[in-house]
Amino acid sequence: MSDTSATQDKSAPAPPSEAEIASLLDSLGVSPDSNLIGVLQDVQDQFGYLPPAALGELSRRTRIPLSRIWGVVSFYAQFYTEPRGRHTIRCCRGTACHVKGAGRVLDAVQRELDIQDGEMTEDLMFQLETVACLGTCFLAPAMMIDNQYFGELTPRRVQSILRSFRAEHA
C-alpha cells in the first residue's frame, strides 16, 4: 500500500456485480416480508453504499416499488447511493475546535490523504466529512474516525493517527 491517494473523480470503484448483489440478498433472505430499512442498512454495511443495481434487485425481491425505495433512501441522511470510503473521518468545525485550531487539523487530514472535504481516498479506505460540532468540546480540536474519538489534535498527531489507523485496518 502506498500513501499516495487521489480524489474520487479520478477513480470510481467498480460497482458490485449482479452475482455479488444476488448472493448478498440471498444471504439476507430478502422477501416481500423483509423490513426495508433494515435490509438497506445491511446492504450498505456490505458495499459501503447502496449501489443502484442493488436497489433494483431489492425492489424485485421485496415487491416494493423502486420509486418508494428511492424515496426512503433519499430521505434518510444515513444512506448513500455513491461509493464511499470504508471509514468515515468527521472533522469538527464547532466553535471550540475552531478557536483551538480545527482549520489546521482539517488541512493536515486533507494533505495527508490528498482529498478534500466530501471526498474519498483512491483506495476507498477513508471518506472525509466536516461536521458542525461533535459535542466533545473538552477534546478540542477533535475528529472522529467511525465511532472512535480523537482529541487535542495537532497536524503531527493527525498524521500519525491516520498512518497507524491505516496500518491497523489494511
Binding site: 443502484p52 436497489l55 415487491r63 416499488p65 423502486l66 420509486s67 418508494r68 425505495i69 428511492w70 424515496g71 433519499s74 430521505f75 441522511a77 447511493t81
Partner: protein, 903 residues
C-alpha cells in the same frame, strides 16, 4: 346497519353514516371545505398533510383535519371561523413563499386550486417571501412536464400513481426544501414503471404537472368541454375533450366519471391528436388511370352505386361482400349490415371480431347461451382470485389492468397468470404459468383434473345449473398435471397450485383475450374456460365469470348489431325462418337465408374470383389479416374495392373508390364496451373538408341503389335498433345522458344487466363440452425453429392507422421490434436493437430485435402495428373450424441477423 350519526356543521344539522369524515358530512350540506392534498373523487385515503381543511370541533382544543376526522354524535363543527381563516391564510402564504407568481402565463390559471384559495383568502403576497425554487421544468418523454417550482408536494400524483393506476413509478425524492416528485433517479420515464397515463396531470392541483402538447393551447375558461367515449380499446372510458379554436387541445378524465372513474391510459389521454392530422381524407377519391384522384360525392357515390348494382345483377348478390367496422358506432354497424342484407341482398358482412373474438362469441354461446363478457369491469376488485390467461391486460386494456393490480395490492385478491410471456401482470401474480403457445386446453383440463381429484368442484352448482358433467369428467381424467406439464412446459406443481387457488376462492374471475382466441383451437380454448368456471360455480355472481376483454372500442356493438355473416342484430340467426321473416318485414326487403362469408373466407373468395366487389368500412385487412401477401393478391383480383375511412390506409391505397369518413369526435352515436355497456359518443368537432359520418354515407348510397334510407339523427337509428333487437330494446338516447346501460336491457324500465347468468343461464342449463388438446397447426421444425406469437403494445393500437398518427404515441414507440430471449440471441449472434430478418413459409420482414427475458427461449413476439414490418406477412391463415378465426398466435418462423446490406 348502524344508525346514522347526527351532528351540527356551521349551525346546520346533518345525519350521516358512522365513519363518515367531517369533510364528507360538510359536502352533504353543500359546504366545500378548502383542501389541497386530498382529492375526494379519487376515493383515496386522506393524508391530512396540507392542513388546509382544518375545522374547529367544540370541546376538542386544537382544530382537526376534516378530511380524516370521523364524525361523532352531537359533534358541533365550525368550518369558517376567523381563526380558521387566519390559519388557512397562513398556510397559503407559506405555500406561496417560494412559488412563482406567474399566474398571468401559467397553463393552469383558472383551474389552479392554489390560485383559487389564494384569491379566496385574499393573499396578495406572502409575508414569508423567499427565494423561489430555481429548477427549470423537466420534460422527460413527449407528454408529461414537471415544474418543481410550482409543486406544493401535496402528493396527489404519487397517490394516483401508486393506488389508482398502480404503476408506482413516482414518489417523493429527497428531504426538506430539496424534496421533489421523481421517477427513480437514473431511470428515464421510458425505462421506468411509468405507463405515461398522465393521470398525475389530472390530479395536480397546481401547474406543476402539465401536458406538453397543450402548452399555449388555451386555459380552463377558454375550453369547450365535450364528454365522449375513447376510440381505442374496449374499456370504453369517458374522455373529456377540451376544445379551443376547433382543435382538441387536451383530453382530461373527470374523477368519478365513466367506467374508469376518470382514470385514463396513454392512448386515451394523449393519442387522439390523429383527429386533426394533416393526412385526414377530406374528399372522395376515384381511381382514374391508376391514380386516386379527387371527385365529388355525387361522382363517387354514383359510381359505387352503379357498379355495385351492375355486379349484383350480373354475378348475383353473393359476389359482393362488406366489412363493417368495430371502430364505428352501433348505428353505423346496424346500417352497414342492413345495407348489405336489405339493399345488396347478401349475408356477406363481417368485421374484425372475426380476427379477435369470433371463438369467444361461438364458444360462450354454446356453453352459456350468450357470447359476451359475463361480468362487469368494476367487479374485478370484488374477486378473491383472478385467473388471467392469454391477456396482456396492462398493455391491451390498461384500465382493467390497473383494476387487477389494485385488487392484488389491496390484499384481497390472489392473481394467477398463464401467459407464454413474462408480462407486467406476472410481477403481481402469486403464480405465473408460462405455457407453450397453443397448449391452453391441456392446461385447463389439468386444472380441472386437480379440482376433481381434490374434490373442490361445486356439486350443487353442477347438479342444479349444468348438463354434460360426466362427459367433462371423463375427458379430463387423463390430464394429470404431470401429463399436462409435458405438453405445456408448466411444472405440475404450479398447475396444481393454480387450480387450488382458483377453486377455493369464494368468488373467482377468469379474464382472457386473444391469447386464448386466436388459435385453430380458439373455440375449444373458450369452452375449456367455460368448463372451469362452471365446475367451480364461478359464474352468475358478482366478482366471478368468464370475461373476454374485447379489443376495439365498439367490437362488442358491431357483433351485437349483426355485422356478422350468420346473425341479424341481437344474434338472431339468418338461417332461422322466423327471424328472417321478422327482418324482411321490418326492412321491407327480401333477405337471403344463406349464411355469408367470414373475413378470411372473403379474401379466399376474392382470390379465386367468386367475390367481385368488397366494400370496406374503417378496416385495414392489408395489415390486420393473416398472410398479407395472399390478402394483397386477393384484393387486387377484385373488380371493385371501395374503402370508407378517415385515412388512406394500406387497404385504401388499393381501392377503386375511397370515401372520406368522420372520426369519433365528429359525430353522434353509441359505442358498446367490453362489459356490454352502451354509451353515448358525442360530436365535438366538424369533420374536415367534405368528410361525412359513415351513417350518412351509407344512407346516401342505399338511396342511390333504390332503397330509401333516411334518418335525421343517429338517435332515430337507435330507435329502429331497439325495435328489432331485444337486448337493446330499452335503450334510447335520453337514457344514456349520464353513464350508460348494460344489455340485456329489454324495455324502457329495465335498469340494465351488470352480470349475466344469475340463477339461470341464457340457454337454460350451462353445458359442459368435453375438449381434447390439439396441437397448433404449424409447429416449429428444423427449417423454421421458432414459434412466433403476435400481439400489441401499450402505446399503439391495431394497424396503427390512428395511433401512429399521434405525435405522442408515435414518439413513445416509433419502431416495431421483435422480442427474442437472450440465450437465443447469443446463440444466433443477434444483439439488442440490431436489425434481423424474420421469415416464415409465407413471407419475410426485417426489423430490430429486442433482447429480453419477457419471452421464453424458442419463442418470438412481435406486435402487428407496423406497416414497415408487418407481422402478418409471416402469420398463417389456418382457421378454427367453427369460429373461422385465424391462428395469429402461433406460427413457425426463423430469425437471423440481417445479411450485410447489398447497396
Amino acid at each position: 346497519m348502524a344508525d346514522d350519526v347526527t351532528l351540527t356543521i356551521d349551525d346546520r344539522e346533518v345525519s350521516v353514516p358512522p365513519g363518515t369524515t367531517i369533510f364528507n358530512a360538510a359536502r352533504r350540506l353543500g359546504i366545500d371545505i378548502p383542501h389541497l392534498c386530498y382529492d375526494p373523487a379519487l376515493g383515496l385515503a386522506p393524508t391530512s398533510s396540507c392542513r388546509l381543511c382544518l375545522v374547529e370541533v367544540e370541546g376538542s382544543g386544537n382544530p382537526v383535519p376534516s378530511c380524516s376526522h370521523p364524525v361523532a354524535p352531537g359533534m358541533i363543527v365550525q368550518t369558517n371561523t376567523p381563526h380558521l381563516r387566519e390559519t388557512r391564510r397562513l398556510i397559503i402564504e407559506l405555500l406561496l413563499s417560494d412559488h412563482p407568481h406567474d399566474c398571468l402565463t401559467c397553463e393552469k390559471a383558472g383551474a389552479c386550486d392554489l390560485q383559487k384559495y389564494a384569491y379566496a383568502c385574499g393573499v396578495k403576497e406572502s409575508r414569508f417571501a423567499s427565494e423561489q425554487v430555481a429548477v427549470a421544468p423537466v420534460q422527460d418523454g413527449p407528454a408529461i412536464v414537471y415544474d418543481r417550482s410550482k409543486c406544493i408536494l401535496c402528493g396527489r400524483c404519487v397517490q394516483v400513481c401508486h393506488e389508482v393506476q398502480a404503476s408506482r413509478a413516482i414518489d417523493f425524492l429527497g428531504r426538506g426544501f430539496d424534496t421533489c416528485i421523481s421517477l427513480p433517479p437514473g431511470q428515464t420515464r421510458d425505462e421506468s414503471a411509468c405507463a405515461e397515463c398522465g393521470n398525475c396531470i389530472d390530479v395536480c392541483p397546481t401547474g406543476a404537472l402539465t401536458y406538453a402538447g397543450a402548452e399555449g393551447g388555451g386555459r380552463a375558461w377558454e375550453f369547450e368541454q365535450v364528454r365522449t367515449i375513447c376510440p381505442y380499446c374496449g374499456c370504453g372510458c369517458t374522455l373529456v375533450l377540451n376544445i379551443h379554436d376547433g382543435r382538441i387541445v387536451h383530453i382530461t378524465g373527470e374523477p368519478g366519471l365513466g367506467v374508469s372513474k376518470g382514470l385514463l391510459c396513454v392512448k386515451g389521454r394523449f393519442g387522439t391528436d390523429f383527429v386533426g392530422h394533416e393526412q385526414r381524407l377530406t374528399e372522395p377519391l376515384i381511381r382514374t388511370g391508376g391514380e386516386l384522384v379527387p371527385a365529388t360525392w355525387d361522382e363517387a357515390l354514383g359510381l359505387v352505386a352503379e357498379r355495385l348494382t351492375r355486379i349484383r345483377d350480373t354475378h348475383g348478390p353473393d359476389s359482393i361482400a362488406g366489412l363493417s367496422s368495430a371502430k364505428t358506432t352501433n348505428e353505423e354497424n346496424y346500417l352497414m349490415q342492413k345495407f348489405m342484407r336489405a339493399v345488396v341482398g347478401t349475408n356477406n358482412v363481417d368485421h374484425c371480431a372475426r380476427l379477435c373474438h369470433a371463438s369467444t362469441v361461438v364458444g360462450l354461446a354454446r356453453a352459456f347461451g350468450s357470447g359476451a363478457m359475463t361480468n362487469s369491469m368494476d367487479e374485478f376488485e370484488l374477486a378473491d382470485a383472478i385467473f388471467v390467461i392469454g391477456s396482456n391486460t396492462t398493455e391491451c386494456h390498461p384500465i382493467i389492468g390497473a383494476a387487477i393490480k389494485r385488487a392484488v395490492l389491496s390484499g384481497k385478491t390472489t392473481l394467477i397468470v398463464a401467459d407464454p410471456r413474462a408480462i407486467e401482470l406476472t410481477e403481481f401474480a402469486a403464480v405465473h404459468m408460462q405455457q407453450k403457445g397453443g397448449t391452453d386446453v391441456a392446461l385447463a383440463n389439468a386444472m380441472m383434473h386437480v379440482i376433481l381429484a381434490e374434490g373442490l368442484q361445486d356439486n350443487s352448482f353442477l347438479a342444479e345449473r349444468t348438463e354434460g358433467f360426466e362427459d367433462l369428467a371423463r375427458a379430463v381424467e387423463p390430464y394429470t398435471p404431470e401429463m399436462a406439464a409435458k405438453i405445456t412446459g408448466v411444472p405440475a406443481a404450479l398447475i396444481a397450485e393454480s387450480a387450488c387457488i382458483y377453486a377455493k376462492a369464494e368468488a373467482a374471475s377468469i379474464i382472457f383475450s386473444m391469447g386464448i382466441t386466436q388459435h385453430t383451437t380458439g373455440t375449444d380454448n373458450v369452452l375449456s374456460l367455460a368448463n372451469l368456471a362452471m365446475l367451480t360455480g364461478n359464474i352468475g355472481r358478482p366478482g366471478t365469470g368468464v370475461n373476454p376483454l374485447r379489443g376495439q372500442n365498439n367490437v362488442q356493438g358491431a357483433c351485437d348489431l349483426g355485422a356478422l355473416p350468420n346473425v341479424y342484430p341481437g344474434y338472431q340467426k339468418v338461417d332461422d325462418e322466423a327471424s328472417r321473416q321478422k327482418f324482411q318485414k321490418a326492412w321491407g326487403a327480401k333477405l337471403s337465408p344463406n349464411v355469408g362469408l367470414t373475413v378470411v373466407e372473403m379474401i379466399d373468395a376474392a382470390a379465386d374470383g367468386r367475390l367481385k366487389a368488397l366494400y370496406v368500412v374503417g378496416e385495414n385487412p392489408m395489415l390486420s389479416d393473416p398472410d398479407l401477401n395472399h390478402v394483397e393478391e386477393a384484393l387486387k383480383n377484385l373488380d371493385l374495392l371501395v374503402v370508407q375511412d378517415i385515412f388512406l390506409s394500406e387497404t385504401a391505397q388499393l381501392a377503386d373508390v375511397v370515401l372520406p369518413a368522420a372520426s369519433f369526435a365528429e359525430k353522434d352515436g353509441t359505442f358498446t364496451n367490453t362489459e356490454r355497456r352502451v354509451q353515448r359518443v358525442r360530436k365535438a368537432l366538424d369533420a374536415p373538408g367534405q368528410a361525412l359520418p359513415d351513417w350518412q354515407i351509407l344512407c346516401d348510397l342505399a338511396s342511390r341503389m333504390g332503397y330509401e334510407m333516411h334518418y335525421d339523427h343517429p338517435s332515430a337509428i337507435q330507435d329502429e335498433i331497439a325495435s328489432v333487437t331485444p337486448s337493446y330494446g330499452g335503450i334510447t338516447y335520453d337514457r344514456l345522458q349520464e353513464g350508460g346501460l348494460q344489455w340485456p336491457c329489454p324495455d324502457r324500465e329495465h335498469p340494465g344487466t351488470p352480470y349475466l347468468h344469475k340463477g339461470k343461464f341464457a340457454r337454460g342449463l350451462g353445458k359442459f363440452h368435453a375438449v381434447e388438446f390439439i396441437p397448433p397447426r404449424e409447429p416449429p421444425d428444423d427449417e423454421y425453429p421458432f414459434v412466433l406469437s403476435t400481439g400489441r403494445v401499450l402505446q399503439h393500437f391495431h394497424t396503427g392507422t390512428m395511433s401512429r398518427r399521434s405525435d405522442v404515441l408515435d414518439t413513445l414507440v416509433s419502431v416495431g421490434t421483435i422480442e427474442i430471449h437472450p440465450d437465443d440471441a447469443a446463440r444466433l449472434g443477434i444483439a439488442d436493437s440490431e436489425t434481423v430478418r424474420v421469415a416464415s413459409r409465407r413471407g419475410q420482414i426485417e426489423l430490430p430485435a429486442r433482447v429480453t427475458e419477457r419471452v421464453a427461449p424458442g419463442t418470438l413476439f412481435l406486435a402487428f402495428h407496423y406497416r414497415e414490418a408487418p407481422a402478418n406477412r409471416l402469420t398463417i391463415a389456418a382457421l378454427d373450424p367453427i369460429a373461422k378465426i385465424p391462428e395469429l398466435k402461433v406460427c413457425a418462423v426463423r430469425i437471423e441477423p440481417r445479411p450485410a446490406a447489398k447497396s
